[in-house]
């Protein structure tokens, strides 16, 4: 059991590292891509056709994958005021409930719904006009990020359910900032 757990933890950490690299590269490409669009229009005289398309779909990818990673760090906005008033034991229960809800939503809407979306889109033969790629690739981020969401929810659940769990020390809330 302990062995399986440590393998799981190691895999999760590796996944997190991988995601971080992916997101940083994605963001950098996004900036360069849109700047290239402006540059090509003013300096080369004709806007490169694929810049807007690439940027928009890259945004979908980094947004959903980033959302999954941010979920692991408890960085999403929530209303923690009322839960904060609860007894520690009740708070633990509500924390478990939250993970179950996130897991259920991700599994149903993102993984199951997203998978259907990908299958139907590939079947429809829809193609991105400028990049000439099947549209299904864009949507495939939905089920993929859904799986990652589920994985992180599972990781949180394991922590909450472990015997020596202490609500005060774990999990740390990330700095929440959106405005």
């Amino acid at each position: 059991m302990a062995h399986a757990q440590s393998i799981f933890t190691r895999c999760v950490l590796r996944l997190v590292k991988g995601l971080e690299v992916l997101l940083v590269v994605g963001m950098a490409v996004l900036v360069v891509d849109v700047l290239w669009g402006v540059f090509s229009r003013y300096v080369l005289g004709e806007q490169t056709r694929w810049t807007e398309e690439l940027a928009v779909y890259l945004l979908v990818w980094i947004s959903l994958m980033g959302a999954a990673l941010t979920f692991r760090e408890k960085g999403h906005l929530g209303v923690d005021y009322f839960v904060g008033k609860l007894e520690p034991s009740a708070r633990r229960l509500s924390a478990i409930f939250v993970e179950v809800i996130v897991f259920a939503f991700s599994a149903f809407a993102l993984v199951h719904g997203g998978w259907n979306l990908v299958i139907k889109t590939f079947a429809s033969g829809q193609v991105l006009p400028a990049l000439n790629l099947p549209m299904g690739y864009v949507y495939s981020v939905v089920p993929i990020s859904g799986v990652v969401f589920c994985l992180f929810a599972f990781e949180h659940l394991m922590a909450y359910l472990s015997v020596d769990f202490d609500l005060k020390t774990s999990p740390q809330s990330a700095e929440k900032e959106s405005d």
């Binding site: 960085g75 929530g78 405005d179």
Partner: protein, 431 residues
């Protein structure tokens, strides 16, 4: 209200109270509602609405303004803006108050983040004001509220969020429309500080020796302020779209931070990019979920139901606006600005537009309103950060906050009932 609308509402509120991430509250309640409606493949619709909701070129401005904001914030802008404001108003009695507010307005505008303004400017100004004899709590209250004005002054991410959910509202018009209201609220905050400020009698103004020379102040601050000029000028001059302007802002902020101010190292970029992606993804995930919800909302004709309910109270649009303002003030006390804008724009905007209100005007009103909520307990992001930076407690800050709240509320009423305050400038510019 029929069963499905009730499911949407109850589901959302229950999940919200239990501290489920708001995006999942929205998404989960939407799943239940669409499932109850039947006849549609629920997961498929939600997945599709979420991903296509994010896939929009105007929304790309958000990651870019977040990134340029982080770059500017870390690139030594705070110190230089303070010097500049110090040069402008530091010589007056109680001058540090005005230095604080004006710096927060500029920093909040350029960085696009009220939270960053509180921590960066507050980190320097609160100890400085305390050292000069202003109350620590007063300084925290002033910084916290001043920082929110930057959200009205462009560039502003929350305006892009509003423009996207309101659909067909020009980002450029919103940006320009926010300028005067932002300055008005900032001025009212300074006026409240002047009225309630113990320094009028007790505190000496800054010494001349502590004030930078005109030249030094200008050289330091102008490059930062130029970012606003580039963005607004570029958009208004038709040189580039708001999204392209935001990407240019990133390039400019990089250049400034690495080459001119030399406070960002290439090695920092990984961390800065990662931080920006995370902030962006929080906003985007919320936007995706609310795009799914707005489908369910309009299917269930919730805006019409709300409209009927509001008109049942009074058919006077002035009263309707007052009720909406009060509801938003209440929402703002426990919810952050982005989810509040995403959830309530599709509900309230059709109501006010049917009585002839300009969507640009309503957007500015809504943001000005929710700015107050950022500084109110029980949940006030800016207030929490301010208390943390200033090393004081929430309870102690409430008293000095009250007069400033009154000033902000007066500003909100001016914005609400005097449309020209918002709309004059964009109309002048033909937007």
């Amino acid at each position: 209200m029929d069963t499905e609308a009730l499911i949407l509402l109850t589901g959302f509120i229950v999940l919200l109270l239990l501290d489920v991430p708001i995006a999942v509250c929205i998404g989960g309640a939407t799943v239940l509602t669409i499932y109850a409606i039947g006849d549609v493949p629920t997961g498929y619709v939600v997945a599709q609405r979420m991903s296509t909701g994010i896939a929009s070129f105007p929304l790309l401005a958000i990651p870019f303004f977040v990134l340029s904001g982080v770059l500017m914030g870390e690139g030594g802008m705070a110190r230089r803006l303070i010097d500049f404001a110090n040069f402008l108003v530091g010589g007056f009695r109680g001058g540090l108050c005005y230095v604080n507010t004006i710096t927060c307005m500029m920093f909040g505008a350029v960085s696009g983040s009220a939270s960053a303004a509180v921590s960066s400017i507050g980190g320097f100004m609160i100890p400085e004001m305390t050292r000069k004899g202003y109350g620590r709590e007063f300084s925290v209250a002033l910084t916290t509220t001043s920082a929110t004005t930057g959200l009205l002054i462009p560039p502003s991410n929350i305006m892009i969020v509003y423009a996207v959910v309101a659909s067909n509202v020009s980002v450029a018009a919103l940006f320009v429309g926010g300028v005067i209201p932002g300055i008005v609220i900032g001025s009212l905050i300074m006026f409240a500080a002047w009225l309630s400020n113990p320094s009028r009698t007790a505190v000496e103004s800054l010494d001349a020796s502590e004030r930078p020379s005109l030249w030094a102040a200008l050289i330091g601050a102008l490059p930062s302020m130029l970012l606003i000029v580039i963005v607004l000028g570029g958009i208004l001059g038709g040189v580039f779209s708001a999204t392209e302007a935001s990407a240019v802002a990133v390039a400019y902020a990089l250049f400034l931070g690495i080459v001119v101010y030399r406070e960002i190292k290439v090695g920092d970029l990984h961390r800065i990019l990662l931080k920006s992606v995370k902030t962006t993804s929080v906003v985007m995930f919320l936007i995706g979920a609310s795009q799914a919800m707005s489908w369910a909302l309009s299917f269930e004709q919730v805006p019409q139901a709300v409209s009927v309910a509001l008109l049942g109270i009074s058919d006077n649009p002035l009263v309707t606006l007052l009720i909406i303002n009060i509801l938003l003030l209440i929402v703002g006390t426990f919810m952050d600005m982005t989810p509040a804008v995403l959830i309530f724009t599709p509900i309230f905007l059709p109501v006010v537009m049917s009585s002839g209100m300009d969507p640009v005007h309503f957007g500015v009103l809504m943001i000005a309103n929710l700015c107050i909520g950022l500084c109110t307990p029980p949940v006030g992001t800016c207030l929490f950060i301010g208390c943390g930076v200033g090393g004081t407690t929430l309870a102690k800050v409430i008293r000095p906050l009250l007069p400033i709240f009154i000033a902000m509320f007066i500003g909100l009423m001016l914005i609400t009932y005097w449309p020209a305050l918002t709309l004059w400038l964009p109309r002048m510019l033909g937007l």
